[in-house]
Subunit: 108 residues, 4 copies
C-alpha cells in the first residue's frame, strides 16, 4: 500500500532525483524560473493554432492528452523545485493570494 | 481550526472565485495556458538581470521575496485551474513523470 | 532630412543607449533571451482573454494600439541587441529560414 | 544579382509563404503573439542551464550556433507577421521607443 501523494512527497522525490544526478548546481532560482517558463511555453505550443472550441476538446485525442499531461507535470516539477530552493510553500502562497484577490476583486 | 491545505481544496476555492465573477467563459484551456506562461514570465522578469549568485539571495529582500511568492501563487493558480478544466490530476501527472524520468535518465 | 530607418541604424542606437548607461555587463546572451521572452509574454498578456475576433480589432482602441506597438518595439529591441552580441544578421537568418521552410513545407 | 534584404521584402516573402499554404486563417494576432512567445522560449531553452560565461561562447559550437540562428529567425518571422496583420511598422515603433527611453532613463 502506498501513502497518498502530496506536494511535500513530490518535492522529496524531485530533490532525490536531482541529487542522484548532481544536477543541483544547475538549479539556481534564475535557471529554474527560466526552465519553468520554457515548459509553460511548451504547453502554449500545443494550443497555439487551435480555436477556443478545439482547445476545449484537447483531451479527446489520447496522444495530445498525454502530451498535455506530460507538460503539466514538467511545469509543476520546476515550480516545486523552485519553491524548494527558495523556501516558499506554494499552497500557502496560493491560499494567501486568493485571500488578497477576494478583497481586490469583490464579487458582485 | 482550519483543515490543512491541499490541492483539491485550492482548486475548489479557485473555481468558486471564478464562478462568483462569471469568469469561466474566459477560462478555455487555450487562454489558461497563455495566462500560465505570462505569469511564469513575470517570475523570469524578477531574475532576468541577476547573476546566478544574486538570484540565490533573492528572498533576503522582503519586497522581492513578497513579489516572488506572489508570482509563484499566480503560476500555481493558473496551473490548477487548467488541470481542473482538463480533468488532469497534477500530482499524479508529476509522480508518473518522475517514474518515466528515472527510467530515461538512470542515476550513475 | 533624416536617413531612412534600417536594422543596422537601430542596432547602433541601441548599442549607444546601453553603453551610455553602462548596461553592457547585463547584456549576456542568456539575459537578453530571457528579456526577449519576457517582452513577448507582455504582448501575450494583452491578448490572453480576447476571442480571436476581438484580437483582430485590437488596434481600434488607441490606448491598446499604443501598448501593442510599445511591446513590439521592446521585443525587437532585445532581438536586435541579442543579434549584436552574438554576431547574427537577423534578416539573413530569416531569409535562409524561409528558403528552408519552402523545401520543408512545399505549397500544394 | 539580388536586391538587398529589408524588412518589407521579408514581410512579402512571409505573406506569400502563408498564403500559398492557406495559413492566414490561423494568423490571428492572438495566435501570432502566442507563436512568437513560444519561439522566444525555444531560444531561452538553449541557454537555460548555461552560466553567463558559457552563454557568451554559444556561437563557438557550430551546431548550437545554427540552432540559435534558426530560433532568432523564427522569432523575427512571427514578429514581422504580427506587424503585418496589425499594420505596425516595427522599425518606426522601435525608433520611437528609443526616443522615449532616452527621456525616461537619462544617461549620466
Amino acid at each position: 500500500m502506498t501513502e497518498p501523494l502530496d506536494v511535500a512527497k513530490l518535492q522529496r522525490r524531485l530533490a532525490e532525483f536531482a541529487a542522484a544526478r548532481d544536477w543541483q548546481p544547475y538549479h539556481t532560482p534564475k535557471n529554474l524560473v527560466a526552465a519553468l517558463s520554457v515548459e509553460a511555453s511548451e504547453l502554449v505550443e500545443i494550443f497555439q493554432w487551435l480555436t477556443p472550441e478545439e482547445s476545449a476538446r484537447v483531451m479527446d485525442d489520447p496522444d495530445t492528452a498525454h502530451r498535455v499531461t506530460d507538460e503539466i507535470a514538467d511545469v509543476l516539477a520546476y515550480l516545486l523545485q523552485l519553491c524548494e530552493v527558495l523556501g516558499v510553500d506554494p499552497l500557502a502562497a496560493l491560499d494567501a493570494k486568493i485571500d488578497r484577490n477576494e478583497r481586490r476583486f469583490p464579487a458582485q
